[in-house]
Symmetry: C2
Subunit: 401 residues, 2 copies
């Protein structure tokens, strides 16, 4: 038998990074590579009780359910969204297998092969891969610490006639960046004027370190839900636990209902019991205090990593302290190739993700993403020490070349 | 904002049937329409305990897991497959969100727009819709009670040069049909000779009413796992519970690894906790006895429906008693349009699925699918009585036309 795959699998070919990171599985390599939440933040006991209550509800917890998701959980999400200035009804929402699936479903119902999506530069690598997998062209728009450059956005809109813009405006992956209100409004205005859909991906919005600041979602700034120019997606992965794989998308009912039909075709529905248990959890859980704890813990971890990095005193290495989220984005000296540094680092027992796969077009080779949420204090210290050793040795090898 | 959807959404447009069936939600309509397992077959107490044991394993039950699925559960499936003459390693398998997702993932990595898939006539409607959603042409092959007609298969292969054949050879949906060994071998031989992949969908294989007979999977008849011409998919939905949304696919490692990469792009992974709990259940559960109970219960329900239908003595109505599975496929008199009968039936308080959407090409309008697993004895009796009334009235209206 000779297998002939679809054209789209070309976009799925293994990356050098994935191969290196595979080497880290099951051994003593400390990982700053993933985007995993701290396991001590999971409400295990409360979740166990919530599953028990879900079973008390009887057989329906194990039966097929609605494609768009368990109604009481959708009601809970709607009420939460309302607190954040997003007023939506149940018909404006579907629950998904993580927010990753929301991105896939929207692509499938909204974009054809060859269509253009504008993205930040850099942006979430799995979104870029998903666009490529569907034959969609992802075109980067330049930006700074405030968000996308609105002039470059206008230029790219004129040049590429995109159907969609994909953004993570609050504590972006990988950069940790937060868009200013002005840039959010600017993006929205240009997209409305040009009939371009915005996919606002907000997995990290709740993980905010500076308590007072308020970052309005782009969705909330637009008329909504009807005629909204924005589809907004978020997830329980970072505020409860990722293993339940539950996210949601909200938008105009015409868009959402199409996504529901697509979901029916691709997997019928996500787990019934997980959705019911999540609702049981949330109906008795003090989520606000829980989020406060996560914020405090992640902020402490971020500050600790920042301190450890400063203590390394590497020449020409720069980063901005993130105001939220899970990642620290590092600019290395221009002559450093972060993929080569990774290979050396894995030998020393530490892994990270080089910046390259986060760029939709021309990559910057001298960037890397460090996760600070997974490892504890001691392991983070050890990881940065190992990274320091790898960096020093790698830098020496550059000089001798 | 004016929304412009992808071309593929045309395949997702609402069907008349779906609109009629929507009317049945939340009111007194008895449904023979779905494919829902009997809720009294769910091992609720055992499942509750399994989830508790999963929580005993600690935080990893709520953390991100592997895209291809929880290793101990894959090991369990591999050992189960071995009992059924299918010898596969972990690299030959991925766990999916129900077997529906396995069909989607294989389509995405193996088929391009315009490619042809041969299917039974009729076949599983959600597979047909999925093919159409991806722009794949589904071409029906004629068949009889033994399976596909091998001559028509040869003709269609020559004519359409298909890349894949999709079949449900054991207790098919919607017909309940079981393929003979000869037809299984014949399909395999032709596909091997022509380098055509077979997708063998086997959600119902365990739901067998005649205890002694042994139906070999097509996968088991082929060389495997390497160079297998078959990708086989099944699910826990019918032997444990559908609400956990856990299925699996097995095949050549090259095909499976591509499906894993596609899954990583579309939803990262299915629920961690559900997979761990399922493994906890299965490692202590007497699955064989449980399946025996389901078989006995569904056989009794099937016999009961068969008896009730016979008692109706409808003119020109025919069906074959299924040897397994969840459906009874009914041929109505030639002048009956099952969609019109459905509209009348819903008024009487009973719903079913007309045969039309199960046909990839020219539909037979005088067919319908009845599910016998969901309703209890009394409700089934009431449902068939209502169906009888609707049929009689509808038949009268035909005469007077």
């Amino acid at each position: 038998m000779e297998y002939t795959f679809s054209k789209s699998v070309d976009a799925l070919s293994s990356s050098a990074v994935r191969e290196i990171l595979k080497l880290t599985q099951g051994n003593q390599v400390l990982s700053l590579a993933g985007g995993l939440p701290a396991e001590d933040s999971f409400p295990i006991q409360e979740m166990r009780e919530a599953f028990n209550r879900a079973f008390d509800l009887g057989a329906k917890s194990l039966q097929y359910g609605l494609t768009d998701g368990y109604i009481p959980l959708r009601e809970w999400v709607a009420s939460r969204m309302k607190q954040k200035h997003m007023n939506v009804g149940l018909d404006n929402m579907l629950l998904t297998t993580g927010s990753q699936q929301a991105v896939d479903l929207l692509c499938r119902v909204y974009l054809d092969e060859g269509d253009v999506v504008l993205v930040e530069n850099p942006t979430y690598l799995a979104a870029v891969q998903l666009f490529q997998f569907r034959g969609i062209r992802a075109i980067p728009v330049e930006g700074d610490s405030e968000g996308m450059d609105l002039e470059d956005l206008a230029k790219k809109i004129a040049q590429y006639r995109p159907k969609m813009v994909y953004v993570i405006p609050t504590f972006a992956n990988p950069t940790g960046k937060v868009w200013s209100l002005e840039r959010r409004q600017g993006l929205l205005a240009q997209c409305k004027a040009n009939n371009i859909l915005i996919l606002e991906d907000d997995p990290y919005g709740e993980i905010q370190f500076d308590g007072e600041a308020s970052y309005r979602s782009i969705f909330s700034l637009d008329e909504h839900p009807t005629n909204s120019c924005v589809v907004y997606t978020s997830t329980f992965s970072k505020i409860v636990a990722p293993g339940l794989r539950t996210g949601w998308a909200i938008g105009d009912q015409r868009v959402i209902s199409m996504m529901v039909k697509a979901k029916q075709a691709v997997d019928l529905q996500s787990s019934t019991i997980d959705q019911i248990a999540l609702h049981e959890l949330l109906s008795r859980f003090d989520l606000e205090s829980h989020i406060e704890k996560i914020r405090a813990s992640y902020k402490e971890r971020m500050e600790w990593m920042n301190e450890l990095l400063l203590a390394q005193s590497w020449d020409g290495v720069q980063w901005e302290k993130p105001r939220g989220g899970m990642f620290l984005w590092v600019n290395l000296p221009a002559d450093v190739d972060a993929e080569k540094l990774l290979a050396r680092s894995v030998q020393e027992g530490v892994a990270f993700v080089p910046g390259k796969p986060f760029y939709a077009a021309e990559p910057q080779h001298n960037t890397m993403r460090l996760n600070y949420t997974l490892l504890n204090r001691e392991d983070t210290q050890l990881a940065i020490a190992r990274l320091g050793k790898a960096f020093t040795e790698y830098s020496k090898s550059l000089v001798t070349q």
